[in-house]
Structure formats: structure tokens, C-alpha cells
């Protein structure tokens, strides 16, 4: 089985690819527009350098060769969402070629990474069609793989890896994603176009694989065709409109000439899977757990990085889980290290403590004292204050007095001391040592 993908992702630039309009397509329809993204006669494209930088970063992260000069093409077709009746895109001199994405000890080759502009958005009603040109000219990157994906599980793993790599370059494909899927179980290649969202990719592939398997079982021919995915029915149907590269009449985009990108510095990639694996190995921790925590979360990766010398991945992961529960993963590294200390000292972490940590407040627990030492001190106090101890059950003030005294002496949190004191007193009563 051979599966290849064409993945279209929107780049999170402030402005559009060829003009200064906001690239935030969620604005009031047809307000983020200008003569350039409306294709008005007389306008010319101005290339957004930041979009090129992001695209170059993606190409580099996917192991592509990146040229020193890029050029653009006009892809001509008539459709109401395309203001110039051609899309500015790339082919031969794209930002990236011949890359490789490695995961789980295998690899998928990348044929090409190219920059292109998004067409306008079409909103269809029963009696009308509306066009929103806010989306026209939003920068997209198209990632074209070789047909190296071997099945549904592999497809899922590849998408996870791709999503993580893109996530760390600031591109969140969970927000917006369009994919064309090529699946061939036999000789003929079937293309499933315009699948949106990560979940639908797996569903579309699942349906298409079963469909083709069924045809093979019945010894029927698989037609080389373009199909589209129906999200509601979770099935693929033959497309009405046939498309092929032969009909686009490509020529160079002469307004952009060749564009020198040799002085653009791309962002360094982060391969979270590899990092998770190396931490898991180094600390004998659960790779899957680390991977889940850091694949799509730069805060957790940052916290793990900050505490990698702590040698206790179990406590680190526990700390992360607690912060996740309290939605406080954006905590600063220094504060996280203090949190780990608290955890080591057995402090119960609640919202209050997290708040005080983040405010930079001193939390009154003796960081250096370890659990046993403090317990010993508490026992010593109990012995010395023998008479008072007798009263602690009937008189709450006596208990609080003791807690205060110990807490002050050992710079420990009253809350913690009171807990230990109660446990020790109760344990002593029962004749065995608590905890």
C-alpha cells in the first residue's frame, strides 16, 4: 500500500502573503482586503518576508534542501474564489525539495515544500453564493510527500510527527488543515481531495483503503480518479470536476522574478519525539508519557528541559501533571524548580501554593530539611513538651501552639507541620510509626 499526502497549512503571519492586509480570516467578511489581494488591475504582489522565513523553517525542519533563490509560478484556472484567475504558487524553485521526516525508526520522503496563496472563502446558501476575500492571499505552505506511508497506523504516526514539528515552528495544524490524500493499493492511484482536519484524514484513509480492498477482493478494477471526502457520511465519492496538472498553463510569476533567500535565517526545528525518547532513556522514564506531554506543548518541553538535571523524571512529570490540572503550565522555570522542591518535601500542592509560587512569594517550608529529619524534630518536640501533649486532644489551642513552635523553629510550613504532627501523634498512640 502506498499513501502520499499533500498537506496545506496556513502560516500564522500577521499580514497576507502579498499585501499588508491582516491575515486573520476571522475578521468581519471583506474588511481585510486591498487592491492587491482583490487582484485589482494595476496592483502587484509584494512578497511577505516573514512568510518566506516560516516556509523556509518548515522546509529545513522537514530535512529539505533549500535553495538560495526561489521563484513563483502562476497557476491559471477560473473559479469565483480566485480574484486574479490565477494562484501564485511554486513548483521547481520551491522553498524546499527532497526532504525526509523520520519517526519510529522509519522515514517518509518529502518531495517538495512550497509557498502559495489561499483563495477567497466561499459560503454557499441555497439560493446564493457569498465570497469572503479576507482569506484571499493568506499564506499557505503545501507539503508534498512521496508515497512512502504504508498504512493507517503509519499515516497516524506520520501526521503526529508532522504536527509536532510544525507546532514547534508556530504552526498549529489542529486549527486549520487541508489535505489531499493519494492512496494506491494496486496499480492505479486514487486521489482524495480537500480533506479538512486531522481526524478526517484518518477516517478518509480508512474508508478509501476498505473501499479499494473490497474492489480487489471482488477482482474489480480500481479506477485512477479524483474523489472527495464526505465528512457526514464518512465516505469518499467520485468528484465531478476532473483536474490535472496539464491544464493549469503554468508560467513564471514575472512580478516576483527570482527572490534571494540566502540571507534569511530560518528557525531551528524541535523534534519532540526524539527529545522524549532521549529523556525516557536517560531517566528510565516512560517515553510514551513524556511524548504525550511534550509533542504539542512547548511549556512542558521547557519545564522538562529546565529540570533535566533533577534526575527524577517521575517528580518532574508529576509536577507537570499538577500544573496541567491547574492550567499553570506557563510558569517560569525557576518557579517550577521550587515546585519540584516542594513536591520532594511532600508538600501538597493546591491552587493557593501555585498562586503564591507564581507571585514569587516565599513558601515557608524548609527546603533543605528532608522529610525524616523534620519528623525527628517533631518527635523531639513531643518528648520535650510531654505535659502539653496530653492536652492536645481536648484543647485546640495547645495543638496550634505546638505547630507554630515547630514551624517557626524549622522554618517549615504550618500546614505541613500540623499534618505531620497529627499523624505522628496518632501513630504514637497506636504504638507504631506513621507513614
Amino acid at each position: 500500500m502506498k499513501i502520499g499526502l499533500e498537506v496545506h497549512v496556513a502560516l500564522p503571519t500577521k499580514s497576507k502573503l502579498f499585501c499588508r492586509c491582516s491575515a486573520d480570516a476571522s475578521e468581519e467578511p471583506n474588511t481585510a482586503i486591498c487592491p492587491i489581494c482583490m487582484g485589482f488591475p494595476g496592483s502587484k504582489p509584494m512578497l511577505n518576508r516573514e512568510a518566506v522565513r516560516m516556509a523556509l523553517s518548515i522546509a529545513r525542519a522537514l530535512g529539505c534542501k533549500t535553495p538560495s533563490n526561489i521563484s513563483f509560478l502562476r497557476k491559471i484556472y477560473f473559479y469565483p474564489d480566485l480574484p486574479k484567475s490565477f494562484q501564485i504558487t511554486q513548483l521547481e524553485e520551491a522553498v524546499g525539495r527532497e526532504g525526509l521526516v523520520e519517526y519510529k525508526e522509519r522515514g517518509v520522503r518529502i518531495r517538495r515544500v512550497q509557498i502559495e496563496e489561499d483563495p477567497a472563502k466561499i459560503v454557499r446558501g441555497d439560493e446564493y453564493t457569498l465570497l469572503d476575500f479576507n482569506r484571499s492571499g493568506v499564506p499557505l505552505v503545501e507539503i508534498v510527500t512521496e508515497p512512502d506511508i504504508s498504512g493507517e497506523d503509519d499515516l497516524r504516526d506520520f501526521m503526529t510527527e508532522l504536527r509536532s514539528i510544525l507546532y514547534y515552528l508556530g504552526v498549529d495544524i489542529e486549527r486549520e488543515l487541508k489535505v489531499d490524500l493519494n492512496i494506491s493499493l494496486a496499480e492505479q492511484r486514487v486521489e482524495v481531495k480537500n480533506i479538512t482536519g486531522i481526524k478526517n484524514i484518518a477516517d478518509a484513509a480508512h474508508y478509501e483503503i476498505e473501499r479499494q480492498e473490497g474492489l480487489i477482493r471482488e477482482h474489480r478494477a480500481i479506477a485512477a480518479e479524483t474523489r472527495s471526502y464526505n465528512e457526514e457520511k464518512m465516505s469518499t465519492v467520485q468528484s465531478r470536476e476532473k483536474e490535472s496538472n496539464e491544464e493549469y498553463g503554468f508560467i513564471y510569476e514575472p512580478d516576483l522574478a527570482t527572490y534571494d533567500v540566502s540571507d534569511i535565517v530560518p528557525e531551528d526545528p524541535v523534534y519532540a519525539t526524539r527529545i522524549a525518547d532521549s529523556y525516557a532513556k536517560g531517566f528510565h522514564a516512560n517515553a510514551q508519557q513524556i511524548r504525550e506531554a511534550i509533542l504539542f506543548n512547548r511549556d512542558t518541553l521547557r519545564l522538562i528541559d529546565a529540570s533535566k538535571d533533577s534526575n527524577e523524571m517521575r517528580i518532574v512529570m508529576n509536577g507537570i501533571a499538577i500544573l496541567q490540572r491547574h492550567k499553570a503550565l506557563d510558569i517560569e522555570e525557576g518557579e517550577f524548580l521550587r515546585l519540584l522542591e516542594l513536591l520532594r518535601n511532600g508538600t501538597e500542592i493546591d491552587a493557593g501554593i501555585i498562586r503564591r509560587l507564581r507571585l514569587g512569594e516565599e513558601i515557608n517550608i524548609n527546603m533543605r530539611a528532608n522529610l525524616d529529619e523534620l519528623d525527628d524534630e517533631i518527635r523531639k518536640t513531643i518528648e520535650n513538651e510531654g505535659a502539653l501533649i496530653e492536652e492536645y486532644k481536648s484543647n485546640k489551642k495547645v495543638f496550634n501552639f505546638l505547630v507554630g513552635k515547630i514551624a517557626k523553629k524549622y522554618k517549615a510550613s504550618p500546614r505541613y507541620v500540623s499534618e505531620r504532627l497529627r499523624l505522628i501523634l496518632e501513630g504514637e498512640e497506636k504504638g507504631h510509626r506513621a507513614l
Binding site: 487592491p35 488591475p41 494595476g42 477560473f78 484567475s85 496538472n245 503554468f250 513564471y252 512580478d255
Partner: protein, 448 residues
């Protein structure tokens, strides 16, 4: 003194602009130089703008019915720079639809030659050249793709300058063929052109190909006449042109004949690139965003677009069909890519020659034709009339067209070309020529 400086110094009567506009409107009825005349003009040296260059708030149609009613919300960079320098916008000048034409006849109103209305004015910047020929103080902002400045300048007896590709921003120019289009200047003297070029040239971030490289003034003592270019020139012109070359010798230039092979392929390469690009540029006119609107929104988009595109003129349709064919996958290598290679080869062959000297040629291979004669030409004969203006345009070389003789009262134009970015040097030669040769004008509207 340039007429720009002269105009700024001279005292103007109070009703100067009113009378100017009145006289111009009258003459325009017979010559069709302007598609729009700004009756509100009240200050500054008048400048006109070819109708394929946007002026904010002024209907800009590139002489095409499909753009009827298009009022651009912005001005071309060149226009903004002229206005900022104190020039006064006089109007939009007539042209062949989208620049497709050599004679100024592919327009709703055919352009007529100011020396004799029975003759063509040349195209596609026909109105720019006519306006320059009839107005005493005036600068025309025009545009050339394959000779659209040099040809009408030669036929109307004025000076037409096409800068190196990328020297003047094309922002605001309605595209014909983006890799060939150049905004340039038509005026009555090389000095006026030089002063105007100073204003409109220079980097513009709205046009990526406009880099703002400094322009040279490197003089050359030698002038080359390319044998292959002279082969197709009409006998009736040749003797006049030889006489002109002799006069240049008298001015101290060494005039030599040289051979450059492959020149004959320039026309084919030019039309292939121009049509390929033009067919993509014209794709945007689908009748629902600007210009002529096709209001039948109940139709399927295919029919809707088809109906809107019926309004293109015949030459535009021809170029859309040929251009689309050239771009199709089965022949793209044979035509489009080959033409790109030929363009590079032609430049490579001309560059060494241009390092040594200027290249001189007649602008048109024929005398100014009568309108009826020109109408009888087949498309191929029409394209052939561009054989001398295409080489510098295809190679993006700066060139200037200027009158050097008159036969039967009609002007003859020569063109001088030089290497990329050496734009000022050829204007220097024309300035020298203007000291020994006086241009003729039949009208002088706006004299002071």
C-alpha cells in the same frame, strides 16, 4: 533650458488652464489623443497618463470595454511622484486596447496623426505621442512592452524614452506582459525626459522588480548599426537613415556596421512571452469585481465568465487564445521555455556590443502609414512592424526614439539603445542632436 523649468518661470495668464483645456478639447475631437481631459486642472506643468496607468478616482480602462467604469482606488507610483513634484494632471491618453497594437487603431476611438489626420499616430501609446506633439508644455507618462513608446513617438515626431526594465515602478500599471512592461516618458526634448526620469524612477516596495539601482551616464564614442536589423527596412527610409548616420559622424561618433546573429528570432520570442503573460493577465476580467459588470448572477460561473469576456476586442481575444495555447503543457517547452532561452541569448549577444558603443536603428521599418493602409494589414504583417523595437524591449534595454528627418511632411524616427542602467547616456546623445536639429510641431497648444 528644459520646458519644465521654462514653464515654472514664465508668468501665466489667469485663464491659462481654461483656454488650454478648451483648445485641447476641440483638437482632441479630431485626433483622439485623450480619453479623459481633466477640466479642473488649475496649476502645475501639465502631464498626461496613458490609460493603462491608474490615477486614483479617474476612470482607467486601458481602452478596453471590459474595464469600462473601473475607477482605481489608488494611483500608480509614477503618477504619485509626478503629482508630488507639482505637476498637474491633464488627462488620460488613448491607446490600443491593453497595449495590443502598433498603430493606435485597436481602440474605440482610433488615434490620428497630428501632422496629417489621414495617417496613423502609432501605438500603443498613441495618445501620449499625439498629446506631446500638440501641447507646448506637457510631459506624457506612457508605457512600452514591445515598442509602444518608440513607435508612436517616431510617427508623431516627438521624443520617446523607455528606461531599463525595473527602473520605473510598474505599480499601478495594468499589466500586459509583466516581464516586458516598462513605464516611460514621451516629451519634446531629451532634457525634459531626463528631468522627468529623475522624478519617477527609484525603488518602490510595491513593485518587487523595481530595485532602485543607480543609473549611469557612461558615454560611448562608437555607434553600431546592426546589419540584420536593417535587412527588413523599407528602401524609402534607408537613404534618409544613412544620411542621418553621416551627420552623427560629423558630430564625432564612429559609426560602424556590425552583425548580430539570431536577431530574426526576436519577434517570435517576444510574441510568445508577451502572449503567454498577457493571457494570464487578462484572466482576471470575469465581470464581477470591477469594470464592466455582468449582472446575471443566476448563471453558472462558467457561463457568467464567458459572457463577461465577450467584451474583449478582437486582438485581445487573439492573444488570449494564442497565449493559452503557448502555455499548454504539450507545447510549453517548445514555445514558452524556448522563448525565455532566446531572450537570454539575445541579451548575451547584444551585451558585449553595448559595452563598446550605442546601437542605432530606425524605429519603424516603414514610413508612417495611412490609417486605411494600416487597417488592411494582417496580424502577422502588423507584428512584423515591431521588428526594430522588439530587440531592446525584449532585452529590457533602455532606448530613446527621436525625429531625425521629415519626408513628405511626416517625421522619421531613429532609436538609440545602450546597456542596462546606462539610461542617461543615450539621452545625452539626443541632447547633442537637438542642438543641431530642430523638431517640427504643427500645434503648440498652451504656448506662453
Amino acid at each position: 533650458m528644459s520646458s519644465i523649468r521654462e514653464f515654472s518661470k514664465r508668468e501665466k495668464p489667469e485663464d491659462y488652464y481654461l483656454r488650454l483645456v478648451e483648445e485641447l478639447k476641440k483638437l482632441n475631437n479630431s485626433l483622439n489623443a485623450f480619453s479623459v481631459i481633466n477640466e479642473g486642472l488649475s496649476s502645475g506643468m501639465p502631464f498626461s497618463v496613458k490609460d493603462n496607468i491608474c490615477v486614483e478616482g479617474i476612470e482607467t480602462t486601458a481602452s478596453s470595454k471590459v474595464l469600462k467604469g473601473y475607477i482605481p482606488p489608488f494611483s500608480a507610483t509614477a503618477v504619485e511622484r509626478m503629482l508630488a513634484s507639482g505637476f498637474g494632471f491633464l488627462g488620460k491618453t488613448n491607446m490600443d486596447e491593453f497595449g495590443f497594437g502598433t498603430f493606435g487603431l485597436n481602440s474605440e476611438k482610433e488615434a490620428r496623426n497630428p501632422f496629417d489626420e489621414k495617417y496613423v499616430a502609432g501605438g500603443s501609446s498613441s495618445g501620449a505621442a499625439i498629446a506631446t506633439s500638440i501641447l507646448r508644455y506637457h510631459i506624457a507618462i506612457a508605457e512600452s512592452t514591445g515598442g509602444s513608446i518608440a513607435a508612436p513617438a517616431a510617427f508623431c515626431g516627438v521624443v520617446g524614452f523607455t528606461p531599463t526594465y525595473g527602473v520605473v515602478s510598474r505599480y499601478g500599471l495594468i499589466d500586459y506582459a509583466n516581464s516586458l512592461d516598462k513605464i516611460g516618458i514621451v516629451a519634446r526634448s531629451a532634457e525634459d525626459i531626463e528631468e522627468t526620469l529623475e522624478i519617477i524612477k527609484g525603488r518602490d516596495r510595491y513593485d518587487t522588480t523595481c530595485t532602485g539601482r543607480a543609473l549611469g551616464r557612461e558615454p560611448r564614442k562608437r555607434i553600431f548599426i546592426i546589419k540584420e536589423l536593417m535587412e527588413g527596412v523599407d528602401e524609402s527610409i534607408k537613404s534618409h537613415f544613412t544620411g542621418f548616420a553621416e551627420r552623427l559622424k560629423g558630430m564625432g561618433y564612429a559609426v560602424e556596421e556590425r552583425s548580430v546573429s539570431g536577431m530574426e528570432k526576436a519577434i517570435a520570442a517576444y510574441y510568445v512571452i508577451a502572449m503567454a503573460e498577457a493571457s494570464t493577465n487578462l484572466a482576471k476580467y470575469t465581470g464581477y469585481k470591477y469594470g464592466l459588470k455582468n449582472e446575471k448572477y443566476s448563471e453558472h460561473y462558467n457561463e457568467f465568465f464567458t459572457n463577461a469576456r465577450e467584451h474583449f476586442g478582437i486582438e485581445a481575444k487573439r492573444r488570449i487564445i494564442l497565449g493559452t495555447f503557448i502555455r499548454s503543457a504539450s507545447v510549453r517547452d517548445r514555445y514558452y521555455y524556448k522563448a525565455l532561452r532566446l531572450r537570454a541569448e539575445l541579451l548575451a549577444r547584444m551585451e558585449p556590443l553595448l559595452e563598446e558603443g550605442f546601437v542605432l536603428a530606425p524605429v519603424m521599418p516603414i514610413k508612417v502609414p495611412k490609417i486605411d493602409e494600416a487597417k488592411g494589414l494582417s496580424p502577422l504583417e502588423m507584428y512584423k512592424a515591431d521588428m526594430l523595437t522588439i530587440p531592446p524591449n525584449l532585452a529590457g534595454l533602455p532606448h530613446v526614439s527621436f525625429p531625425y528627418a521629415y519626408i513628405g511632411g511626416m517625421p522619421l524616427g531613429a532609436q538609440l539603445m545602450t546597456s542596462h542602467f546606462n539610461d542617461y547616456s543615450i539621452l545625452g546623445v539626443v541632447k547633442e542632436w537637438e542642438r543641431v536639429f530642430t523638431y517640427r510641431f504643427r500645434y503648440n497648444i498652451g504656448s506662453l
